[in-house]
Symmetry: C2
């Protein structure tokens, strides 16, 4: 668990970690996997820089540092995010990723997962939820999460299989459960966490009167649901045997982290 905590530094580099571990399971060398791993981290970083903007979540702290628009200015934050998104596609199609079919597939699936039917849609639903007349239902929050964080976590967990030209079937099932557990843990952290350890502002959802997994399921109910999902995530990896233990540890870590 210590190695896992070190590898991902809280939830911060979870996506890149999933790419590297998924690749190892499919015997893809790290020299190839590092390209999609850095691609997904660049894409995730762009989403954070834009989400923190005053017109979005308006956050001043991230990862224990001033956010980009606070440290520099809003124009720089918009442009830095834009450039990071382009960088993600540059990395995902780097010649060292593998054969052209793999590179084209990585870029196409990354675009689908991050665009108007994936992450951006999730973020738009999240913003809409803040001004909604009635709080979202559990079903609606689950759909929102599937876009906002789920699509990229699924892409990250599937990338290793894609690098090997194989079907990411079981890894996708693992990722779907992990992604949802991760978001429930985020909601718990927002209520219970220590802002210093988390490196960002907390209690935001409650202040905004937003429905969350915690407000809908209660704290104990949310914890129980996250636990169930981690069990399901680990079971999805059965076919890989003990080689998948780092991914199992990542799933357990996702719900025990403090940041």
């Amino acid at each position: 668990m210590h190695a896992m905590a070190h590898a991902t530094s809280g939830g911060k580099r979870l996506r890149g970690f999933l790419v590297m571990e998924g690749a190892a399971l499919h015997d893809v060398p790290a020299e190839r996997a590092i390209w999609p791993a850095t691609a997904i981290e660049a894409l995730h970083a762009y989403s954070l820089v834009h989400d923190d903007l005053p017109c979005m979540d308006d956050d001043a702290m991230r990862r224990g540092q001033p956010t980009v628009h606070v440290k520099w200015d809003e124009a720089t934050a918009v442009l830095a995010g834009d450039a990071l998104q382009a960088l993600a596609f540059e990395l995902a199609t780097h010649p060292d990723c593998g054969p052209p079919a793999v590179r084209a597939e990585l870029a196409l699936t990354l675009a689908q997962a991050s665009g108007a039917r994936g992450m951006v849609m999730g973020q738009a639903l999240d913003i809409a939820a803040e001004t909604a007349a009635t709080p979202l239902t559990l079903e609606q929050i689950t759909a929102l999460q599937a876009g906002k964080t789920g699509a990229l976590i699924e892409w990250a967990a599937s990338a290793g299989a894609r690098l090997a030209g194989e079907d990411p079937g079981q890894l996708r099932e693992y990722a779907a459960a992990l992604g949802l557990a991760f978001q429930i843990a985020d909601d718990i952290l927002d209520v219970e966490g220590d802002a210093n350890k988390a490196g960002k502002r907390l209690q935001k959802d409650e202040q905004a009167g937003k429905a969350t997994f915690v407000s809908l399921l209660g704290l104990e109910g949310a914890r129980a649901r996250a636990d169930e999902l981690v069990v399901a995530a680990c079971e999805a990896l059965e076919c890989y045997g003990p080689r998948a233990d780092p991914l199992r540890a990542a799933a357990r870590f996702a719900i025990s982290r403090e940041s």
Copy 2:
């Protein structure tokens, strides 16, 4: 000229037009070329939506319509731009573009042209120029333009050759001259144009005290330079013979447009 004006509607769909015409020159069917053509239009549209934001150029009108943040709000404009960038990479890697090697190459070169060493860098330099203590030199403005508009025009003109798996050598030379002529024409339009016909606010650069090709070369000097560049652009297409006439017309149109 009427057909050209219709095809591009002012400068608005120039980039997609360049892809389609470049593809025709290389005997690539329109059913394949339409994917990178729509990709570059999506990418260009994202850049306009973000450039119009209050923290960037702060424009209320574009193409004769209210800009996205005026019609909706800033968060929607940030997200719409983000989704359009992802859409550009989804379109550029669409399976119907051609073989995987072509799709991977289109996405990689599009990422390079639009990112921190291409369009985004040009936009950052442009913003920096507004608060610069001394106005930019001709050399600096040319470098800024090469990033801001040149890189994507070059990508568009080269895409047809790339679709055919051929070297875009002459098309790149054409595009470099065209891109610079286009930007000089933009600066002339900013001084002389009719805001109604242009569908956007004009006289912005003068108000901001920014150096432009017009302020550095004078109106007549800028016109003469644009004319020279159009001649150079047309000459670069010599090897293609009369089949390249639509691209020659596009170059002439770029400096005679009113929007």
